[in-house]
Symmetry: C2
Subunit: 498 residues, 2 copies
């Protein structure tokens, strides 16, 4: 227990994701229907398990090969792999650590080891100086008395987030269920595929809220591209589970505070950074985040509508359906990855924009104000050797380039023989999609083969499904790397570009 609490949070999360992926793989394997002739390869099953637990929804197999019980395994994986759930686990750890160390020991060690001291970053020199002095004073003054309240606040925050997760999942799935029970054409599609309505509703709600992006149907949401109301029901779930989570959470705390008038809730709102919960942001930061998220959606919608309004991709839809479709795609590029259209039919300009959207981490925000960041002191400490090691860490983009280069090497044969499917951009798209845990894919089409080949059969899985085993393994690693990217955002600082 002691060891776990004091070890590296990165290692804890890495261990967590690998274990649930393995557990998921075993469960999927055991539950596999015995009568099937062409059994799935172990690598593909493991890939699917990692893809669900890292909420990436990159696919190497069609979804309809999974039985109902296997779908529930995937639901479980998406649930425990989603950021809201893992961040709640983080709060439990923090609470446990608080308890095990105790307030007395805490007070004694407070300033030297564990208390947060505001690290004033991103400021110019003068402000930096003022900030450091001010922060030092503040931390000495406030913390001893606030200690108890803070402990309660963290405990309470855990409940609030759990509540948020339960309410959002249940209401999301009930809305979808309600929609399906009223709209017969949507229900008929699922019934013809042999997918249970209840499974679909819960699966899609969990998948949307967790920003995983799997659905039980092969075609993802393409079969529902005319069911605009259903799409509009899913959009807020996607936003609530990821890019706008801090905004929704803050709003929920504010509402509950108004209702219950508890001091802990007030403390959370007043000192969002003191809880060390990275999803609880100060008010201005939340505002800028919402502004950025909506801005990105708007930019994508404008480009999408101006280039695709009369295109093949949106054929057969009326104006309202096109608009909702554009909104749905724009919201899903960060980072759920559900899709109502064949991405390979879209203009390259939009795909380039999607690459950027997929790359940007969830809480990317235009933030001209200076946000005083709270980090623990032990994060900052480090000996000379640690500093040297740190300087060897590359930036995120460097790692991505390395992954892309490696995949260009593993797939080099196909890139020569089948250049319209296997081109560098499609590989970049797939890698960035995996890194951003999105799940978009340009896919593979037998029509794009230079020499028509009768043995080639189109399938409803992503481009990665056509890669070599080594390529798949690299992408599997990229998904894990992307899911844990928050621990590595500081890399590459030893490099000076000028």
């Amino acid at each position: 227990r002691f060891i776990i609490f004091h070890s590296n949070p990165f290692l804890i999360q890495l261990f967590y994701f690998i274990s649930i992926s393995f557990a998921g793989f075993l469960a999927l394997k055991i539950l596999e229907p015995g009568n099937e002739v062409n059994r799935l390869k172990n690598l593909d099953l493991f890939f699917t398990s990692v893809s669900a637990s890292t909420v990436s929804s990159m696919g190497t197999v069609e979804m309809e090969v999974f039985s109902d019980s296997q779908l529930w395994v995937l639901i479980l994986l998406m649930l425990v792999g989603g950021e809201v759930f893992t961040s709640m686990l983080g709060l439990q750890f923090m609470k446990a650590r608080f308890k095990s160390e105790g307030p007395t020991k805490k007070r004694a060690e407070s300033l030297s080891t564990d208390l947060e001291v505001p690290i004033c970053t991103n400021l110019d020199d003068e402000s930096q100086l003022k900030c450091t002095i001010l922060a030092g004073t503040l931390s000495k003054m406030h913390l001893p008395e606030g200690e108890h309240l803070k402990h309660d606040a963290i405990q309470y925050l855990g409940y609030v987030v759990l509540c948020y997760l339960i309410v959002a999942t249940l209401s999301g799935s009930s809305f979808i269920l309600l929609y399906l029970s009223f709209v017969s054409n949507a229900r008929d599609v699922l019934e013809s595929k042999g997918i249970r309505i209840s499974t679909f509703s819960f699966f899609t709600a969990v998948s949307s809220l967790g920003n995983c992006g799997f659905t039980p149907a092969n075609e993802n949401m393409m079969i529902f591209k005319k069911n605009s109301i259903l799409l509009l029901l899913i959009v807020p779930q996607v936003l609530a589970g990821n890019t706008l989570f801090p905004v929704f959470l803050r709003f929920m705390i504010w509402v509950v505070k108004k209702l219950t008038k508890r001091e802990e809730l007030n403390y959370m709102i007043q000192h969002p950074r003191a809880t060390r919960y990275k999803h609880l942001l100060p008010p201005e930061h939340s505002g800028y985040l919402a502004f950025t998220v909506l801005g990105f959606i708007l930019v994508q919608m404008v480009l999408f509508c101006s280039l695709e309004w009369n295109s093949e991709a949106l054929q057969g839809l009326n104006s309202f359906q096109k608009l909702v479709g554009a909104l749905f795609q724009s919201v899903n590029s960060r980072h759920a990855g559900e899709s109502i259209i064949d991405l390979s039919k879209l203009s390259p300009a939009i795909l380039v924009l999607y690459v950027v959207m997929m790359y940007l981490p969830p809480y990317t925000s235009f933030l001209p104000i200076k946000d005083v960041e709270w980090r623990s002191v032990d994060e900052k400490e480090g000996n000379e050797r640690g500093k040297l090691l740190k300087s060897l860490i590359f930036s995120q983009l460097s790692y991505l380039v390395i992954f892309i280069t490696l995949i260009c090497i593993t797939e080099r044969k196909a890139m020569i023989e089948d250049p319209l499917n296997f081109n560098v951009f499609n590989i970049v798209f797939e890698v960035i999609s995996a890194y951003g845990n999105v799940g978009f894919s340009i896919g593979y089409s037998c029509q794009r083969l230079l020499k028509p080949n009768n043995s080639c059969k189109d399938a409803w899985y992503g481009f990665v499904g056509r890669w070599s085993n080594q390529g798949k393994l690299i992408l599997l690693f990229v998904m894990l790397f992307g899911r844990l990217k928050k621990f590595n955002m500081e890399g590459g600082k030893a490099w000076k570009l000028s």
Copy 2:
């Protein structure tokens, strides 16, 4: 005069490059041989002029259409557009400014407006504080007495850089001339093309030293891929004119100091930052720069040799020639852009690596030590409105994505009809090549057309030569943007990625 000295250095340089490009365009236009049936389009001539003056060597026309006198116009453009030359001009400006303000006025205003105060960046908080205090003290103590010496040092540095430029150009062209006078097969190739040996030698020397990358031959250096000695003569010129310039310059100053024992030279070496000349780096920084440059070359050579040793691209070469060819390509990706092979024949993995190499600015350096940067105070000052405006500036990568998206829109028709030539990666490659002022291009091949077209004729110019006029204009702008990128490296700081 007063206005120019006090105006924005960015605007001065922008004005400078636009004027020499226009002058070059007019000179090329006037000198165009009258008898030619298919005259060059004005846009292509202007593009070539911008391409030479921004030392990019992106091509929309074949080089052999230019007459000898037009080649000399290009030589002049490459000479005055190269970084060594423009940085020398910068030193002249600085000197003139020093003189016009005078030492008395200087002393009075010293601390408030114009003297350098070391801005301690990239440090952690403690070091930052110490550094700021120390630097303040130092600047107060040292500068009044050092003022005179500094003025002389800047003046002297101007001479040294001019010397460097002349020596490097003359020795470079004499070596090439000497080689050509000894090796008849190389001479014969040029004579059969009607290119004068003397023009070729001087053109190639200026082009290599300035890292422009044009040569008078259509095939660039492809015709000399077996002339390894010639390639080995050009490699140090390419390095001396760009990525290793600070190292070579420092070495030259050190040698001249040993010979003449002048105090100004000693001052330059002791206080490289005080001269405000960004190409004069402190010793450790120079060391890390050299280490980084050689590291990049090594990485490229290893990947190149391991993937291409037995490939089509290097067919017909012996091992030594292959090795020299790999070295030549690796050096030229940053940022001269001369080439001995058809890049479209290379493995995609290498092309991806080239994109990174082309993107990285010349003085990219692994720099784990903390380098105290010297900037003038006025650079740092700015009112609230200025800060807001600054926060709206995007990062370099964002601009590049915008350019790429725009070109995907202007070339959207060709991207559908001719996807093997017009694909996103080839466009990205061209844009990054223009941004890095490199000049590499994957080119265009009629063989890659999906439906063979008899009216399509292969030509010896870059991919951009096949773009629409709007596309060419955007790339022209990208070359200028890339040439002036040093003024814009600080953008995007108002964005928080997390």
